[in-house]
């Protein structure tokens, strides 16, 4: 047994030693099991009473050991995300109670999933079923691996031994390694824990620790999107500097030069700038001209900057949207299965805009405002340090406020995103289901539901506004108070002290006003920053998501495929402990047609989804022409396997484009031929615009049968070596189906075809058939053979013919 395991296992997976805590080893030794080879090990965390209590399960070659401890109400129970490597490795000081069950006494081991936990049920040789372990979903996978390990090592052995004695059928179930290992993700691997905090990654295949990923790195990554526009960004920076410099000159011209030098008729000043003595009119003209030029330049620069901003923003938003969209495209079907379309749309459409917000309205100005803030303060100090201190004393207060408002702001943005997502989903839901809403007359109820979500969005927007208004108010209030204080102080200095001139005061007040810009900015920049980082975080979540189905690093091509399909011991379930397909073996010779029948939910669609690699099997492999499909390049696999599924989808566009979807280079003739073969040609021509008719969500509505026929035409034109028809003709009438059937007969030449159907007449031409029930192939053979079996197939056949006969 052991030897077979080693030989058949992939060479890339060396035999892993199963690490077991010291305490467990001790307990095992007490019971004399320390020498036994450990096949599988798992932690458990509950007891039968539904309390949290630590425990272990150890499966060795001779027995199963169940370790239990008393529930500890004071213990902290950590689930995934909090589970720490240290927690797992440190020995739990418990009073372990251990029970040993010899494997001979165990007949069967089953994991029974509950709503939010699981139990391991063992059927003993005396026929009594007992719960031996209870665990939360955290250890679901681990216990499952243990149970499978038991099944593969002990149950299968007996089975295949029996078979060998009996009919000598091919051995099955031996290639799977009969071992499982600890760790909720099935491994003692250290790399599922974050190296910084030691916590397990929430998604072990994606090595990102949300707690240790700081926002700075989000910022830097987002900044990367602006790199291609670095040149323009630099020009913008220069414009900002110029604007700041001009702003700095303004109060000086306006105050000191105009009031103190020219209006005070200061001759020395004139001489210093090289104007003839006493020519104050010229000086005045010059000052006005300079002021005018400064204003004009300022305006022009602002316009240029506006144009640049618009330019960069549009490009960056485009790039980001493209990235999110293409990342989504790479993700596996399972990603879309558990997310709302509306929510994903929010991400593509709105988040990209939001991300750029801070980088355009905020980031460049940080420098500029810091620059002008420092410059202004320096100028102010050089004029009068006492007054400057008075002006600045309130500023720190405002910044402290800002600091404390930070988490509130962050939450507010998160809130809005959730509200927005719900609203989008609701609208999406409602519009897609418009027909149902109308037919049951529930418009008013839908409106009510919409109104409540809409109100939530409004409320969340309002809370953002109120937080940012509060900040704005704080900053402005500080500023106004400072201004008033300066005026009072200045007037006092001019009138009483005579230590200041009017011009200097006006210059000074000008500078205080200049502070307004940076202050206002500071009040708003945080809002932009939160908004932007909040959106960026969501964006990278998608971009970083690792598709579950990945192409091999060195994919193999398929040049001239023959189309032979083989399934070897395939086990698959959408959830690990609920297998939909169980240990399936099937060989479809090249060029033949296989018909699959079975009740709904039996796993038929799942089976063909695996062949087209929408999902990967958890165990076993699928081979095309003897090559594992995991090794094939996506391009060749998809090109050679086409599926017409029960869910037809018609894209926005013309009929022609829809048929040529998989093969845009097809000629008109080929498209017409494909449509004819799919019996679609006639109804297409009945539409006024023929092949140019716009169909899809915004266009003409097609009936279910019409859509199916277009999908069939699409698959025909793709000209795949392997054609999968999943209830492809379920929505067409019997007459049309006959026609399509004829086409399919023509089609299946030189092709491997898998056809799933409830209507047995659809499978008339199948070379052989199989009946799938409960994830297993229960019957297989030709029509005649299955009929002779008098099993499910026979029953179905009788049902369909008798039901028809009754109606006549």
């Amino acid at each position: 047994m052991e030897d077979i395991n080693l030989v058949m296992m992939k060479p890339a997976e060396p035999k892993k030693e199963i690490r077991v805590p010291q305490a467990v080893k001790g307990v095992l030794a007490e019971l004399g099991g320390e020498k036994e080879e450990i096949l599988a090990f798992s932690s458990t965390d509950m007891n039968e009473k539904g309390e949290y209590a630590d425990g272990y399960l150890v499966l060795t070659e001779k027995a199963m050991y169940v370790l239990k401890s008393e529930a500890d109400k004071n213990a902290v129970h950590s689930f995934k995300g909090f589970l720490n490597r240290k927690d797992r490795d440190t020995e739990k000081e418990r009073d372990w109670k251990c029970t040993r069950y010899p494997v001979e006494e165990i007949k069967k081991m089953t994991v029974e999933p509950q709503v939010a936990c699981g139990i391991l049920v063992v059927e003993f040789s005396d026929g009594i079923e007992r719960t031996v372990a209870v665990f939360s979903n955290l250890y679901r996978k681990e216990v499952h691996v243990l149970a499978r390990s038991f099944a593969n090592t002990f149950e299968k052995r007996e089975e295949s031994e029996g078979e060998e004695k009996g009919e000598g059928k091919e051995k099955k179930g031996k290639e799977r390694g009969g071992r499982g290992h600890g760790g909720p993700e099935g491994g003692n691997d250290d790399d599922i824990y974050c190296p910084i905090c030691g916590m397990m990654y929430p998604k072990p295949e994606r090595k990102i620790c949300p707690r240790c990923m700081d926002r700075k790195s989000i910022f830097i990554r987002t900044f990367g999107y602006f790199k291609p526009y670095a040149c323009k960004m630099v020009i913008m920076m220069l414009i900002y500097v110029a604007v700041a410099a001009l702003n700095l000159v303004w109060p000086y011209l306006n105050g000191t030069v105009l009031y103190d030098h020219i209006l005070e008729k200061n001759n020395d000043f004139l001489l210093s700038v090289g104007i003839k003595n006493g020519d104050f009119i010229l000086a005045l003209l010059l000052v006005i001209l300079t002021m005018f030029a400064a204003r004009l330049t300022l305006q022009i620069l602002t316009i240029i900057q506006g144009v640049f901003t618009a330019h960069i923003v549009s490009y960056v938003v485009r790039d980001i949207k493209k990235d999110i969209f293409s990342s989504m495209g790479k993700l596996s079907i399972s990603f879309f299965r558990n997310r709302q379309t509306g929510g994903l749309m929010t991400r593509v459409l709105r988040d990209a805009d939001r991300v750029t917000g801070f980088f355009i309205d905020g980031f460049p100005y940080i420098f500029i405002h810091s620059f002008s803030l420092i410059a202004t303060v320096v100028m102010m100090f050089s004029i009068n340090w006492k007054m400057t201190l008075c002006a600045l004393v309130l500023m720190p207060v405002a910044f402290v406020f800002m600091f404390f408002m930070r988490p509130k702001m962050w939450t507010a943005f998160g809130h809005r995103h959730r509200a927005e997502r719900t609203l989008n989903s609701r609208v999406n839901d409602n519009l897609t289901g418009a027909r149902v809403v109308k037919s049951f007359g529930q418009e008013a109820k839908e409106e009510e539901r919409f109104v409540s979500v809409n109100k939530r969005l409004k409320d969340s927007e309002m809370s953002i506004v109120s937080v940012s208004n509060f900040l704005y108010f704080t900053f402005n209030f500080t500023h106004s108070v400072s201004s008033i204080v300066i005026w009072i102080l200045g007037v006092y200095m001019i009138l009483v002290n005579r230590s200041m001139t009017l011009g200097v005061l006006i210059t000074f007040i000008g500078y205080v006003d200049q502070l307004n810009g940076p202050m206002n900015f500071a009040s708003r920049v945080f809002r932009w920053w939160s908004d932007s980082m909040n959106a960026a975080q969501r964006m990278f979540e998608i971009i970083d998501a690792i598709p579950e189905i990945r192409e091999d690093d060195e994919p193999l091509g398929m040049d001239k495929p023959r189309g032979e399909i083989e399934l070897k011991n395939v086990t698959f379930g959408y959830e690990i402990n609920r297998p939909v397909l169980k240990d399936l073996n099937l060989k479809i010779p090249a060029g033949s047609m296989l018909g699959i029948v079975g009740r709904s939910g039996a796993g038929k669609t799942t089976l063909v989804n695996l062949i087209s690699r929408m999902y990967d099997p958890q165990e076993g492999s699928i081979l095309i022409d003897g090559v594992d499909i995991k090794k094939l390049s996506f391009r060749d696999l998809r090109r050679n396997v086409a599926m017409v599924s029960q869910e037809t989808y018609i894209f926005m566009g013309t009929v022609e484009e829809n048929i040529a979807y998989a093969n845009p280079a097809a000629t008109k003739e080929e498209i017409i031929r494909a449509a004819k073969l799919a019996s679609a040609h006639e109804f297409i021509l009945r539409m006024p615009d023929g092949y140019n008719t716009i169909v899809g969500s915004s266009g003409r509505e097609l009936s279910g049968g019409e859509r199916q026929r277009i999908s069939i035409a699409r698959a025909i034109l793709a000209n795949p070596k392997i054609l999968i028809l999943d209830e492809a003709t379920a929505s067409v009438d019997t007459e049309t189906e006959r026609a399509i059937q004829a086409a399919i007969n023509y089609l299946i030449k030189n092709r491997t075809t898998i056809s799933i159907a409830h209507r047995l007449s659809t499978l008339r031409d199948a070379d052989f058939l199989c009946v799938i029930d409960n994830g297993e192939i229960t019957e297989r053979g030709t029509h005649k053979e299955l009929e002779a079996l008098h099993g499910t197939y026979y029953k179905l056949m009788e049902l369909q013919t008798k039901a028809l006969a009754l109606k006549e």
């Binding site: 689930f79 998160g414 409960n774 026979y794």
Partner: protein, 181 residues
């Protein structure tokens, strides 16, 4: 293999059985606890060595409409207990024991902290089964409002936690939960 002929009458009888709502009471059905701690049932027609009890309305009506089903892949309904209160104390206890594990959901009694980090929210809470720390995914619908005040939270591994009434939390705790309200 005698019954080879296709029997339409048999099928129709089966269908009829499926359509019927078979209410169980203690006169008709005898529930006992098996040696292994499971539930077994004896009706007038048949003996069931092990049956499952499933709530039809686990959130809104946990004590009414309990479906009693056969085990295994083709689990079928044997009958319905309309109201647990109508059962004797002993029987109720046996069934409730089965239900409590099936619908195991710790009740959150207090919130220590909730942190929102890069697409996940980290919860540190007090429950009736002790302190629990778990993480949920922010992108999906992991926090479900059953009513205005009742919340079910599902963690990354699909463990469930319940807050039966958010108004029972302190204002400070509610504030921590604010993002999900």
């Amino acid at each position: 293999m005698e019954e080879k002929e296709f029997d339409l009458a048999e099928m129709e009888k089966e269908t009829e059985e499926m359509l019927k709502i078979n209410l169980l009471d203690e006169k008709k059905a005898k529930f006992t606890r098996t040696e292994g701690g499971f539930l077994s049932l004896k009706t007038e027609e048949k003996d069931y060595p092990r049956v499952l009890a499933v709530r039809m309305f686990p959130f809104t009506d946990p004590d009414r409409y309990i479906s009693i089903r056969t085990t295994g892949e083709h689990s079928k309904e044997i009958g319905i207990i309309e109201d647990m209160k109508s059962l004797s104390k002993e029987v109720r206890e046996i069934i409730e024991e089965q239900l409590s594990l099936r619908y195991f959901t710790p009740v959150i009694t207090g919130i220590n902290s909730i942190k929102d980090e890069y697409g996940y929210a980290y919860f540190d809470v007090m429950t009736d089964r002790g302190r629990c720390r778990f993480a949920i995914h922010m992108g999906g619908s992991d926090v479900v409002h059953l009513t205005e005040t009742r919340i079910i939270i599902t963690d990354i591994d699909e463990n469930r936690f319940e807050i039966p009434d958010i108004l029972q939390l302190t204002p400070a705790e509610r504030k921590k939960l604010d993002l999900f309200l």
